[in-house]
Amino acid sequence: MSEERSIDIEKVADLARIALTNDEKSKLSGQLNSILEYINKLNELDTDDVEPMAHPHSVFNVWREDKAETGLPIQEALKNAPKQRQNMIVVPKVVE
C-alpha cells in the first residue's frame, strides 16, 4: 500500500538551493526519512470525497483599484543590498 518513500537528499537540497556538507546530508536524510514515515500516517484517512482547504475562510474576489501608490525610495530599497552599482543589484554574470 504505502511505497518506500526515501528522500533523495541531493536532489531536494539542490532544488532548495542549499549547499549541504556530507555530514549534513546523511544526518538530514535519516531525520527526514523518519519524519516522512510518521507523516505517512495520513494514508489511513479516507479523503476521497473531501475538498482541500486552501483558505480558512471562503472568501473570493479580494482586490484593489488600479491606482499607483508611493513606493520605496530607491536608497531605502537598496540599503540592505550586499552588492550594488548604479542603483542596481550586482549578481555574478548570468549567462543565458
Binding site: F60, L72, Q86, K93
Partner: protein
C-alpha cells in the same frame, strides 16, 4: 521528400495598467533603475500580494476578443524557481485553472500582390493566463546588474496550439495579437519596450505525417520580423539536418539577428520541477456573467471586422483598408468623413492614407493634434466632386489645409484656385491646341486614343492646370469628331 513545419508560439503581453498586478507600485517603462519598487516588488520579508482588478479586466477583455471561454472560477498558483530577476524566487501564475481557455486568433497572410488581401486563417489557442513579470538583467563583462522596475508588471501568457506552419503565419499571428490588443486598449505590444515577447516551439515532419517531430524552443526573438526570420531559418536548418540523416535533439536555441542564424543555447535539461501549489496569500477569483458581459460591451469593433466592413460597405480597396485598420484612431477619422459621403469613400480613404499620413510624418505630428478634421476632408472631396478644382490641385489644397487648418472653400477662394474662365474659353483653348498640334490630331484620328493626352496636356497648360481634365477630354473629342 517534402517537409512541413509545425509551430507553436508562447507570447507574453504586458497589460497596460497604472499600478502593478500584485503591488500598488507604479507600472511603467523608462524609469530610473529600481524606482518602481515597494516591499512586494522587492520581495521584502513580510510583504504580501494584493490583486489589481484592472489586470483581471484586461485579460478577460483579451480573452473575449480572442473567443476564449472564461470559466466561473480561477485561482493563483506559485511557480517556484530561483533566478536573480525574481524577487521572491517564485512567480505568481495560473497553473491548472487559467482565466481564459481555448480561443483563436484570426490572422491574415500576404496576398499574391500588395493590392490583394491574403488568405485569412484561425490559429487555435490553448489558453491565456495572468502572471507577474520579473525584473530585468543587464549584462556586463564581469557581472550582471538587476533592475526590478519591471517586476510585477501584469503579464498575459498567450499559448497557441502547434497550429502554425510558417514564419509568415507566426508574423501574422503576432501582428494580429498586437492590433487587437491596441484596439482593446489592453496593451501597446511594443516589442522594443518588452511589452510583447515571443518564444517559438518549432519542429518539422514529412508532409502527410501526423505525429509531431522532435521540437526545439527558439528564444531571443526580439521583433515581429525577427520572429518570422528566425522561424524560417530554423525550419530550413531542421530540414537540412533531417535530410543529412541527423535527428533533431530537444534543446533551446537562440536567434542571432545580427548574424541571421539560430544558435544552440543549451541542451534540454531535465524538466524544471516548479513545485506548483495554490498561493496561500491570494484568494480565488469568481467571474460571473455580469462581469463577462460588461467587459464584452467594452470591446470595440475589432481590426478584421472593421477591415471587411470597410471593404464591403464603402467599397474600399484592400490597399486603403489595410492601411487604415491597424490604426484605430485613423480608421475612426476616416469613417467620420466617409459615412457622410459614402460614394466618395475611396477618395477620402486616399487622402487619409496618402496625403494625411505623409504630412503627419513630415511634421512629426500625431493625428490627435492635427488641424485637419473629417470635416476638412469632406470639404475637399466636395470641391473636387463639384468640379471647382481638379484632383491635382486638390493635393496642393490639402497641404495648405494641413498647415492652416482652413476648410477647402476658404483656401480655394484665398488662393484664387477656382477657374477664372468659362466653358467657352475652354472650347477656345481646345481648338487652339488642335490647331497647334497637328501630329497628335492625326494620330488620334488614326485610332490612337492615347494621343489625345498630348492635346489634353496643352489645354491644361493654357488653363494653368485649372481646367477640368474630364471636361476638356470631352470637348476635344467633340471638336475632333
Amino acid at each position: 521528400m517534402k517537409y512541413e513545419a509545425v509551430i507553436g508560439l508562447e507570447v507574453h503581453v504586458q497589460i497596460k495598467t497604472e499600478s502593478k498586478i500584485f503591488s500598488g507600485s507604479r507600472s511603467g517603462y523608462g524609469y530610473e533603475p529600481n524606482e518602481l519598487v515597494d516591499p512586494v516588488v522587492f520581495g521584502l520579508p513580510g510583504a504580501l500580494p494584493v490583486m489589481n482588478k484592472a489586470a483581471l479586466d484586461g485579460i478577460i477583455k483579451a480573452g473575449l476578443a480572442f473567443k476564449c471561454s472564461i470559466p466561473d472560477w480561477c485561482k493563483w498558483d506559485r511557480k517556484n524557481y530561483f533566478y536573480p530577476d525574481s524577487p521572491n524566487n517564485y512567480q505568481i501564475t495560473q497553473y491548472d485553472q487559467p482565466i481564459c481557455q481555448g480561443g483563436e486568433v484570426e490572422i491574415e497572410l500576404s496576398g499574391d500582390s500588395r493590392a490583394e488581401m491574403g488568405e485569412h486563417k484561425n490559429i487555435k489557442l490553448t489558453r491565456i493566463h495572468l502572471e507577474n513579470d520579473v525584473g530585468k538583467l543587464n549584462h556586463f563583462t564581469e557581472d550582471s546588474l538587476v533592475d526590478y522596475n519591471r517586476a510585477f508588471t501584469p503579464l498575459m501568457e498567450i499559448v497557441s496550439e502547434p497550429d502554425m506552419h510558417s514564419g509568415d503565419e507566426a508574423f501574422g499571428f503576432l501582428t494580429s495579437i498586437r492590433q487587437t490588443m491596441i484596439y482593446c486598449g489592453v496593451s501597446d505590444c511594443d516589442m522594443e519596450k518588452g511589452q510583447m515577447r515571443a518564444d517559438a516551439n518549432i519542429s518539422v515532419r514529412p508532409v502527410g505525417e501526423t505525429t509531431l517531430g522532435s521540437k526545439i524552443e527558439l528564444k531571443n526573438l526580439n521583433s515581429i520580423t525577427g520572429v518570422k526570420n528566425g522561424i524560417e531559418y530554423e525550419i530550413k536548418r531542421q530540414i537540412r539536418e533531417l535530410k543529412k540523416g541527423n535527428s533533431i535533439k530537444q534543446a533551446t536555441w537562440r536567434w542571432n539577428a545580427d548574424l541571421g542564424r539560430t544558435e544552440l543555447m543549451r541542451e534540454k535539461e531535465d524538466a524544471h520541477d516548479y513545485r506548483y501549489f495554490p498561493d496561500p496569500d491570494l484568494l480565488p477569483v469568481r467571474i460571473d456573467d455580469e462581469w463577462r458581459n460588461r467587459i464584452r460591451s467594452e470591446i470595440p469593433e475589432l481590426p478584421f471586422e472593421k477591415q471587411s466592413r470597410f471593404m464591403d460597405d464603402y467599397d474600399l480597396p484592400y490597399t486603403i483598408a489595410s492601411v487604415l485598420v491597424p490604426d484605430r484612431a485613423l480608421s475612426e477619422f476616416f469613417e467620420e468623413a466617409a459615412k457622410k459621403n459614402p460614394s466618395k469613400a475611396k477618395a477620402i480613404g486616399n487622402y487619409v492614407t496618402n496625403d494625411l499620413l505623409r504630412e503627419l510624418s513630415e511634421a512629426g505630428q500625431s493625428l490627435a493634434v492635427c488641424k485637419v478634421s473629417p470635416e476638412h476632408l469632406l470639404s475637399l472631396v466636395e470641391a473636387v466632386e463639384k468640379g471647382t478644382i481638379t484632383k491635382q490641385i486638390a493635393k496642393d489644397v490639402f497641404v495648405e489645409m494641413f498647415q492652416s487648418g482652413e476648410l477647402a472653400g476658404k483656401i480655394i477662394d484665398r488662393k484664387g484656385l477656382k477657374p477664372d474662365f468659362d466653358d467657352e474659353q475652354v472650347k477656345v483653348w481646345c481648338q487652339e491646341a488642335i490647331n497647334e498640334n497637328p501630329k497628335p490630331v492625326d494620330d488620334f484620328r488614326s485610332g490612337n486614343d492615347k494621343a489625345l493626352n498630348a492635346l489634353l496636356g496643352q489645354v491644361m497648360k493654357k488653363s494653368r492646370g485649372k481646367a477640368n481634365p474630364q471636361s476638356v477630354n470631352q470637348v476635344l473629342r467633340e471638336l475632333l469628331s
